[in-house]
């Protein structure tokens, strides 16, 4: 790497260093804003025994769902995994483990991981199965539980535009989990729809500063829609 140019030549290079047994954080919500090509590269690579942290696990045949086909995922940390037949099968067969985490807690755990905060307190989950076995404490008369940060060996995100320095801007609601995921990986890889030159993004409008990004690649995206809902025009 020369200076701050994070652009890599191909997807194989983008995922160098990913090994069996690692924890991978993935951005996206449902199929919106997911790093689809980086996921496909993990599939191609055949890395196994992965712990994947992502709000959902894609659908059958698309998104993180493709990593189930060759049983590459050992454990999934998600808030909702209801869109996936193969997921259900592997869960019931006991070859896949799931750790259900409330959506806001999941987002905050990754933000904390990136921000050097090892643990925080939240009311979310107190008195529920999520709170079982976790320390609880009262602040100002209210019950809270302690949640610990999540850090990944790899983090993969998808953005709209990225400059060569790795500064990212997300498009519309495809932002979702990507900004926190980007901060919480020991190695963070971003794929974008368009690579631009440094200076083309307005500094105060950058969503993810380049300091969090180790590698950047431009991809082509299918952007599959999970639930197409329309009204009369």
């Amino acid at each position: 790497m020369a200076g701050f140019d994070k652009v890599v030549a191909n997807y194989a290079e983008a995922m160098v260093g990913l090994e069996d047994g690692m924890t991978v954080l993935a951005g996206g919500f449902g199929l919106c804003g997911i790093p689809e090509n980086l996921i496909n590269e993990i599939r191609r690579k055949g890395t196994r025994d992965l712990t994947v942290v992502s709000n959902n696990c894609g659908v059958d045949g698309f998104g993180l769902g493709v990593l189930l086909e060759d049983r590459q995922i050992r454990k999934m940390v998600s808030s909702y995994v209801g869109e996936n037949k193969l997921f259900e099968e592997q869960l019931l067969a006991g070859i896949l483990e799931v750790e259900l985490t409330p959506q806001g807690t999941l987002a905050e755990k990754m933000r904390a991981g990136g921000a050097g905060i090892p643990a925080f307190f939240t009311a979310t989950g107190y008195g529920t199965p999520v709170g079982e076995g976790k320390e609880s404490r009262v602040f100002n008369g209210r019950h809270y539980i302690m949640e610990e940060a999540i850090v990944g060996d790899f983090a993969i995100v998808k953005a709209w535009k990225g400059d060569r320095f790795g500064n990212l801007i997300y498009r519309h609601a495809a932002q979702n989990f990507n900004p926190m995921v980007a901060t919480a990986g020991k190695i963070t890889v971003a794929e974008v729809e368009e690579i631009v030159e440094p200076g083309e993004l307005e500094p105060s409008q950058v969503h993810t500063p380049g300091i969090y990004i180790d590698r950047l690649i431009q991809g082509h995206f299918e952007k599959r829609i999970e639930k197409r809902t329309v009204r009369e025009g």
């Binding site: 919106c32 808030s79 259900l100 989950g125 107190y126 009204r231």
Partner: protein, 218 residues
């Protein structure tokens, strides 16, 4: 007569106040948006990271990057803002959303709610529901009063794993509008043509019944 889904949404909508930021859960809560009272403006929050959710898009407007918390394609109103899920749940957890409406399997006299998990059935996950019930001061639960088999969903104590502990104050069922306070249900309104006796019979948890229980008008 028990309320229809539309009437449930209509009754909930009467709790909306001008200037409210509102999060509507999946199902009946979503219908509430169709019954916003005259003169009241509300702004819809979608927990994936959108404040100012608009209607579904036309065919031409459909955009894969523009979805709501139910993963449906949506639009944004003028004056919307879009942000990360961490920011979205900061907003929710921090109590900035004025009203949250969501469904449930059970609610009890302590205000606890069970809505995401039936042991023995496959667990799909709680999504944002636990954060929503823990974060909001003002929550309305909408559900049928009893199961098809006549088993009450308003209980002395929830039997299913909880989504949230002691956080619900208002329940709109197909039979009644009920408030929760001091470890009891308080019957406030009944559905048109539904008798107090029937509501009492289908409410397992302790319920205070005032002398007059007004009938909802639609």
């Amino acid at each position: 007569m028990a309320l229809s889904r539309e009437q449930l949404a209509q009754r909930v909508a009467r709790e909306l106040e001008d200037g409210y930021y509102v999060n509507l859960g999946i199902g009946i809560p979503t219908l509430v948006a169709n019954y916003i009272p005259e003169g009241v403006e509300v702004m819809l929050q979608s927990e994936n990271g959108l404040l100012g959710m608009g209607p579904f898009p036309t065919e031409e407007q459909v955009d894969a990057d523009m979805v709501n918390a139910g993963k449906q394609t949506v639009t944004a109103i003028k004056g919307a803002s879009i942000f990360s899920s961490a920011e979205s749940f900061a907003m929710i957890r921090g109590g900035h959303v004025d009203l949250t409406v969501l469904g449930a399997f059970e609610v009890d006299v302590e205000g606890s709610i069970a809505s995401y998990m039936i042991p023995g059935k496959l667990i799909k996950g709680m999504g944002g529901a636990m954060d929503l019930v823990a974060g909001a001061d003002n929550i309305i639960v909408t559900m049928t009063h009893a199961s098809k088999h006549g088993e009450s969903k308003l209980l002395p104590r929830c039997t299913l794993p909880l989504t949230g502990f002691g956080c619900i104050r208002k329940v709109v069922t197909d039979l009644a509008y009920i408030e929760i306070a001091d470890g009891r249900f308080w019957l406030r309104e009944r559905a048109p043509g539904v008798s107090v006796d029937e509501i009492v019979r289908l409410t397992a948890g302790e319920m205070v019944v005032p002398e007059v229980v007004p009938e909802m008008v639609f």
